[in-house]
C-alpha cells in the first residue's frame, strides 16, 4: 500500500504543483500574490523559496493582461499555471480564455496548442456578497476547447491538478475557499487522476445525487439525513465537467432511476441543465421520476446572512428534492 498522509486540500494543491514543477521546467506559476505573499489563500506557500522568482511570479492586478500573457507563453510551448485569486475576477480575462485559449488550436489547424491551467476558487464562501460569490463553471465549459476539473477532496485536488498541468489543452481547475481547510488522505507518491472519470463518493440504491466540487460535501450531508429515513442516496462526484463522465451518470441513473442534480451555480443554462439533457436523451426509459435540479437561487448573492443562506443550495433543499423524486412526502419532517 502506498504511503498516504492526512493533509489539507490546500496542501494537496501545493503538492500537485510541486510534483509537476519538479518534473518539468516548462511549468511555472503566475498570479496575484502567489510568490512573496505565499498565495492569497496560501496555496503556493513556500514555492517562491523552492523555485525562485523565475518560476513563481507575482503579477500585477491585471487579469486580462496576465491571463493573456500566460496564454501567449503556452502558445510558445510553456505550461503556465495561471492563478486567479478567485474565478470571479477571471471574468475580466474571459476574452483570453474563450477567444484565445479555447480557439487557438482550432484556428491554427492544430499548429498551436495552449497547455495552460487556470486555477483558483470558484463559488461562494461566507457573506462575500454578490461580486465575490458566484460559480463560474458554465462560463468555462460553454466553450469547446476548454476542459474543467472540480476537485472536492484533498486527494482529488492533487490528482486532478496534476492531470490538468500535464494535459495539452487549457484546463480550468476550480477550487473553493471553503474547501482549502478540508483534510483528507492523499498519496505521498506521484499521483495523477485522469480527467473524465467520475467518482462515486457514496453508494446507494434509492436516488442519485449528481454533483461536483464543493457541493459534493452538501450532497454527502444530505445523504446522511436521508439515511436516517432509510433512503440510501448515491453521491456521484463528476470531478471533471469537460470531459464529462457520461457513462458514470448513465450507470447511476440505471441503478436508482431517480436523479437530483446539485450545483452551486445559477439554474439558467447551468451544469445541471446539461446533465438533464444527457439523461433524457440517453436514459429516458430508465427514469421513474422527473430529474430535479438544486441550484443557487436565481438571484445575485445577497450579503445578509439569512438571505445568503436562502440563496445557497443547501442540505435541506437537496433532501427535499430527493424525497420528491422518490414521491415521499416532505411534510413528514
Amino acid at each position: 500500500m502506498a504511503d498516504v498522509a492526512e493533509i489539507t486540500y490546500r496542501e494537496a494543491l501545493n503538492a500537485a504543483m510541486c510534483q509537476e514543477m519538479d518534473r518539468d521546467d516548462s511549468v511555472f506559476l503566475l498570479g496575484e500574490e502567489v510568490a512573496e505573499y505565499d498565495g492569497a489563500y496560501k496555496v503556493s506557500r513556500g514555492m517562491l523559496a523552492r523555485y525562485g522568482d523565475r518560476r513563481v511570479v507575482d503579477s500585477p492586478i491585471s487579469e486580462l493582461g496576465f491571463a493573456g500573457l500566460c496564454v501567449g507563453a503556452a502558445m510558445a510551448g510553456l505550461r503556465p499555471i495561471c492563478e486567479f485569486m478567485t474565478f470571479n475576477f477571471s471574468i475580466l480575462a474571459l476574452d483570453q480564455v474563450v477567444n484565445s485559449a479555447a480557439k487557438m488550436l482550432y484556428m491554427t489547424n492544430g499548429q498551436v496548442s495552449v497547455p495552460i491551467v487556470f486555477r483558483g476558487p470558484t463559488g461562494a464562501a461566507l457573506q462575500l456578497s454578490a461580486q465575490h460569490s458566484q460559480a463560474c463553471e458554465t462560463y468555462y465549459v460553454h466553450a469547446p476547447g476548454v476542459k474543467l476539473a472540480t476537485p472536492a477532496t484533498p486527494a482529488d485536488a492533487k490528482g486532478l491538478l496534476a492531470a490538468a498541468i500535464r494535459d495539452d489543452d487549457p484546463v480550468a481547475v476550480m477550487e473553493g475557499e471553503l474547501l482549502y481547510n478540508v483534510r483528507g488522505e492523499v498519496p505521498d507518491e506521484e499521483y495523477v487522476i485522469p480527467l473524465g472519470v467520475a467518482d462515486v463518493k457514496r453508494t446507494g440504491d434509492d436516488v442519485s445525487i449528481v454533483t461536483h466540487g464543493k457541493m459534493v460535501h452538501v450532497a454527502l450531508q444530505a445523504a446522511r439525513v436521508l439515511a436516517r429515513e432509510e433512503i440510501e442516496a448515491e453521491v456521484l462526484d463528476l470531478r471533471s465537467l469537460r470531459p464529462l463522465d457520461a457513462d458514470a451518470i448513465l450507470e447511476t441513473v440505471a441503478k436508482t432511476n431517480r436523479v437530483v442534480c446539485l450545483e452551486e451555480g445559477w439554474p439558467f443554462a447551468g451544469v445541471g441543465a446539461q446533465i438533464v439533457s444527457l439523461i433524457q436523451d440517453e436514459a429516458f426509459d430508465d427514469l421513474d421520476a422527473p430529474v430535479l435540479r438544486v441550484t443557487q437561487a436565481d438571484v445575485p448573492m445577497p450579503y445578509a446572512k439569512n438571505l445568503e443562506q436562502l440563496a445557497k443550495p443547501g442540505v435541506k433543499a437537496v433532501v427535499e428534492a430527493c424525497r420528491k423524486v422518490l414521491y415521499v412526502p416532505n411534510a413528514a419532517t
Partner: protein, 381 residues
C-alpha cells in the same frame, strides 16, 4: 546586412549612386519586389472577394506595405511576429508562401491554417508567425507571453507585436505594456497608425497621442514614417538588435495610411474621411511609389526592371489564386479535428451527440446509445 556600409541616405547625385541608405541595388530591388508582391496580392484578394471566392471579413493592407516590409524583413527567421487581423502581407513578409495565404482566404486545405482560420487567423509557427487575431488588442498580451517564453528559456529572439492605433485604447494594451516593462520582455510593440479605428478618427476618441502612450510605463517611444520603407527597415534593424541585446520592451508609432476601407464592405471614404484626404495620400504617400521614384531618381531602377518586378509579382499572385482555387475544401469528417490537442480516454469532450464527434468514454462507447433497457418503473410504488 551590415550597417553604415555606404552613404546613409540619398544625398548623392542622381545617376551616381551605387547604394541607397546603405542598400545595394539588389537589396533595393528585393524590397521593392516584396512590396509590389504585397500590393498585387491584396488587389488579387479584393478581386476574389468581389466574385465570392473569399467570404467573411477581409481587411486589406494596401497603403501600409512599407511597414510589412520595413518592420518584418529585418527580423531573424526565428523571431516571432504576432498581429491583428489586417495581416495578409505581414504573414507573407514573415515567410508564409503567398499560395498558403491565399488558400487560407479561400477557406481551403492548402491554407496556412487549413481553412479553419480565414483572413483574420493566419498562422505558421514554422516561420514564427503567430497570427492573426480578431479581437482588437487581444494579441498584445499574447505578444508579451511569447516574449515571456523567449526570456524564460534564455533565448535571444525577439517578438514583434503589431496593432492598429485603435488598440492602444484597450485595457489589454495598458496591462501588457506595464507587465512587459516590469519583466523587461524582449518585445517590440508596433502601432500601425493609420489614423482611424474603422470609421472613427483616433483623435476623436483619444485623450493623448499614440506616441504618448508608453511613457507612463517607462517604455521608450519611437516614431517612424511607415511610408518610407528604407527608413523603416533601417530603424527596425537597429531596434531589433538593441532589444536582442537586452534593451527591454520598445514602442513604435509607425505613421501610415490605409488606402482602402476598413474591410471589404466599407467605403474607401465617406462620412469619416474625405475623398480628397484619401487621394492626397494615394498621390503623395504611396510607399511603393515613393520607393520606386527614389530608386529611379538615383538611377538604381529602370522602367524595364520595374515592369519585370511587377510582372513577377502579378504572376505570383495569379499563381497563388490558381493554387487556392484548386485546393480542396476541408473534408466534412475534419469538423471536430483540433478542438482539443488531447482527446482524454475517459469521459466525453463533445456534448452535441452528433455523428462524427470523437466518442471518448471508458467502454469505447460514450456516443449516443439509445436507452433501450426500458423503465424498471415504480420501484417504490
Amino acid at each position: 546586412m551590415a550597417n553604415g556600409d555606404g552613404p546613409a541616405g540619398d544625398g548623392g547625385e542622381p545617376g551616381a549612386a551605387t547604394r541607397l541608405h546603405g542598400f545595394s541595388r539588389d537589396e533595393l530591388h528585393g524590397l521593392l519586389a516584396d512590396m509590389l508582391l504585397y500590393r498585387r496580392f491584396e488587389e488579387k484578394a479584393e478581386e476574389a472577394y468581389a466574385i465570392g471566392k473569399i467570404g467573411g471579413f477581409c481587411h486589406l493592407h494596401i497603403g501600409q506595405e512599407g511597414l510589412a516590409a520595413g518592420a518584418i524583413k529585418p527580423l531573424r527567421a526565428d523571431d516571432l511576429v504576432v498581429t491583428a487581423y489586417r495581416e495578409h502581407t505581414q504573414a507573407i513578409a514573415k515567410g508564409i508562401d503567398p499560395r498558403a495565404v491565399m488558400a487560407e482566404l479561400y477557406g481551403r486545405t492548402g491554407g496556412c491554417s487549413g481553412g479553419r482560420g480565414g483572413s483574420m487567423h493566419l498562422f505558421d509557427t514554422a516561420v514564427g508567425f503567430y497570427g492573426g487575431h480578431g479581437i482588437v488588442g487581444a494579441q498584445i498580451p499574447l505578444g508579451a507571453g511569447l516574449a515571456w517564453a523567449i526570456r524564460y528559456r534564455g533565448g535571444d529572439q525577439i517578438c514583434v507585436c503589431f496593432m492598429g492605433d485603435a488598440a492602444v485604447n484597450q485595457g489589454a494594451f495598458l496591462e501588457s505594456l506595464n507587465m512587459s516593462a516590469v519583466w523587461k520582455l524582449p518585445v517590440v510593440y508596433v502601432v500601425e497608425n493609420n489614423g482611424y479605428g474603422m470609421g472613427t478618427a483616433f483623435s476623436r476618441v483619444s485623450a493623448t497621442d499614440v506616441e504618448a502612450r508608453s511613457g507612463a510605463y517607462g517604455i521608450p517611444a519611437h516614431t517612424v514614417d511607415g511610408q518610407d520603407a528604407l527608413e523603416t527597415y533601417r530603424f527596425f534593424e537597429r531596434l531589433a538588435e538593441r532589444v536582442r541585446r537586452g534593451a527591454g520592451p520598445q514602442f513604435v508609432n509607425a505613421v501610415t495610411y490605409r488606402f482602402r476601407g476598413h474591410s471589404m464592405s466599407d467605403p474607401v471614404s465617406g462620412t469619416y474621411r474625405s475623398k480628397e484626404e484619401v487621394e492626397s495620400h494615394v498621390r503623395g504617400r504611396d510607399p511603393i511609389a515613393l520607393l520606386r521614384d527614389r530608386l529611379m531618381e538615383a538611377a538604381l531602377l529602370t522602367r524595364k526592371e520595374l515592369e519585370g518586378i511587377d510582372a513577377d509579382a502579378r504572376a505570383a499572385c495569379d499563381d497563388a489564386a490558381a493554387f487556392a482555387d484548386a485546393s480542396p475544401l476541408p473534408a466534412p469528417s475534419t469538423l471536430y479535428d483540433h478542438v482539443y490537442a488531447e482527446i482524454n480516454p475517459n469521459g466525453r469532450l463533445f456534448l452535441d451527440g452528433r455523428e462524427g464527434a470523437p466518442a471518448g468514454g471508458r467502454a469505447g462507447g460514450g456516443g449516443r446509445t439509445p436507452a433501450g433497457g426500458g423503465a424498471k418503473g415504480g420501484r417504490r410504488g
